[in-house]
């Protein structure tokens, strides 16, 4: 059985995105969830499946309590860090395709600085246990530091430059200016990027994503029901997750310049029955600029080592050959761990993206990247 076109994104919801908040992750999550359910034209009591974010401050039972769900019959977690949101699409699609649920709600809420710094949060995650024992004592304590050696090796092997990474940051900032719910509205030039301070060389401040407070949610419905709901359905054509070899830490991976997405992408393209040329818009997980470049290579949009040249010359900008992160991404819209990427792709494929709309967008992809190289990808279409 193929999962192709068995499930649809039928509802999307977001809160305002801010740097800090006095509201709990749960309040933010419920606001986004109610917005997504209303967008689908459903009543909260229609929800019979929930896949909340592991670190999102809510569990499936909280939705029974707060929404009075009469029959929550499916719940799951997809603990893959930033790859969780898109992996949850796979999980929810399986649940509705398999007849276990009709409408699965996926949520992700973050409190940013209000819930502790990133270094404190990751210290509590089991997937970082070996990093904690063997790398943190020597000073490698935060994601920018975990990923800097990946970018450095890519630069040394292939001649990739900081200016090429900067092109990614500058492009997403331009896109963010077209979105009224994007945190970073101040324009950025390549010179601004180059002048931004080093965080973990080769990664500069403007190569790093934001810390944000807010929540996003989507509703995944069985395809035959989806057609009768309020919004035009957006089909999940293909979806897959992939894990790199030896994923305990970045250090221990045989090839640190290749991530789990390299395994997942061919499966998602095959399931959806589309090729790279069919992709009209891509929302790519962008915790760091380099991670975007690496994913473009690992998905096969260009060969390994050619990502630097690929992102230059406006190719990934609105109006270019492959518009990427039309909402500004984690770098310039907000860090909602990629749930905001799914929301944006859905808007694009509905034709509801306003000033950011990619003309005639029919097929798009969204990726997730998590922790120590996990990857996830979904190919959606009208």
């Amino acid at each position: 059985m193929s999962m192709r076109d068995k499930a649809c994104v039928t509802g999307i919801g977001e809160t305002r995105y801010t740097r800090e908040t006095t509201r709990s992750q749960a309040e933010l999550t419920f606001e986004a969830a109610l917005a997504a359910i209303a967008d689908a034209g459903l009543d909260p009591k229609d929800i019979d499946g929930v896949v909340p974010y592991v670190m999102g401050g809510v569990i499936a039972e909280d939705f029974v309590t707060n929404f009075g769900l009469p029959d929550l019959r499916y719940s799951a977690l997809t603990p893959m860090g930033g790859a969780s949101s898109v992996a949850a699409l796979q999980n929810a699609a399986l649940a509705v395709a398999g007849g276990l649920a009709n409408h699965v709600l996926i949520t992700l809420g973050r409190g940013a600085l209000s819930t502790g710094r990133i270094t404190d949060r990751i210290g509590q995650m089991p997937q970082f246990r070996l990093v904690g024992e063997f790398e943190m004592p020597m000073g490698t304590v935060a994601p920018a530091q975990f990923y800097a050696p990946m970018a450095r090796r890519h630069m040394e092997l292939y001649g990739t430059t900081s200016e090429q990474l900067g092109e990614i940051a500058v492009t997403f900032r331009k896109h963010a200016a077209l979105h009224d719910n994007a945190m970073m509205q101040k324009p950025m030039t390549l010179a601004d990027h180059q002048a931004s301070r080093m965080i973990a060389d080769p990664l500069r401040l403007y190569d790093c994503c934001l810390e944000s407070a807010g929540a996003a949610a989507v509703v995944i419905s069985r395809a035959d029901i989806a057609r009768d709901l309020r919004q035009p359905p957006v089909y999940i054509g293909g979806v897959a997750e992939g894990h790199p070899d030896s994923p305990s830490t970045i250090t221990q991976r045989p090839d640190i310049c290749r991530i789990g997405l390299a395994k997942a992408a061919p499966k998602a393209f095959a399931m959806a029955g589309v090729t790279h040329k069919d992709i009209d818009v891509a929302e790519i997980y962008d915790c760091f600029t380099y991670i975007v470049l690496c994913q473009l290579e690992d998905m096969g949009f260009c060969a390994k080592g050619e990502g630097g040249a690929f992102v230059q010359g406006g190719r990934i900008a609105l109006g270019g050959e492959l518009p990427v992160n039309t909402h500004g991404g984690l770098l310039s819209q907000a860090h909602i761990a990629g749930m905001n990427h799914i929301v944006e792709l859905t808007r694009q494929l509905r034709g509801h993206a306003g000033a950011r709309q990619v003309a005639n967008a029919e097929v798009g992809l969204v990726t997730g990247y998590g922790d120590l190289g996990d990857g996830s990808i979904a190919i959606l279409h009208k």
């Binding site: 270094t119 246990r129 070996l130 904690g132 024992e133 063997f134 790398e135 943190m136 004592p137 020597m138 000073g139 490698t140 304590v141 935060a142 920018a144 530091q145 800097a148 050696p149 990946m150 450095r152 090796r153 040394e156 092997l157 301070r197 080093m198 965080i199 973990a200 060389d201 030896s246 305990s248 830490t249 970045i250 250090t251 221990q252 640190i256």
Partner: protein, 137 residues
């Protein structure tokens, strides 16, 4: 008696990993190897991913390695590393075929290249804890 207390993150050492840390304290590199197929593995783990044996032994490493990649840490993220920032960390390929990550001392980042030879050194940070570091060979 008035030495400042150690304020950096400490490793959470388990029975599985204790021989590695005990070795460092004695200024020896010891690595876990499969008792059955002799594949060396790091960081320590219960099962050999080649032959699935759960029996392992500890072998001596040379501490000789080559640079696989590096980072120059400018923003410390943890307050205790602020006083030494910026500092270099290297990811290295040990002669035994496994990787480690540790600080690179007394080096200029602008001169580094992939494959450069480095040598393990030992830094006694508390009476109970010795951490690995590297120097250019």
């Amino acid at each position: 008696m008035n030495a400042p207390s150690y304020d950096k993150p400490l490793p959470d050492i388990s029975p599985l990993t204790k021989p590695f840390w005990d070795g460092l304290r004695e200024h020896r590199l010891v690595l876990q190897a499969c008792s059955h197929c002799h594949t060396v593995r790091h960081y320590p783990r219960p099962v050999c991913d080649q032959c699935y044996s759960m029996d392992s032994e500890w072998i001596s490493g040379t501490g000789r390695a080559t640079i696989h990649s590096w980072a120059v840490n400018h923003h410390p993220f943890h307050f205790a590393f602020k006083r030494e920032s910026p500092f270099i960390t290297v990811t290295v390929d040990l002669e035994e075929g496994v990787r480690m990550q540790a600080p690179l001392r007394d080096a200029d980042a602008s001169t580094l290249t992939l494959g450069m030879a480095v040598q393990l050194i030992y830094e006694d940070v508390t009476p109970e804890l010795t951490l690995p570091a590297f120097r250019l060979a």
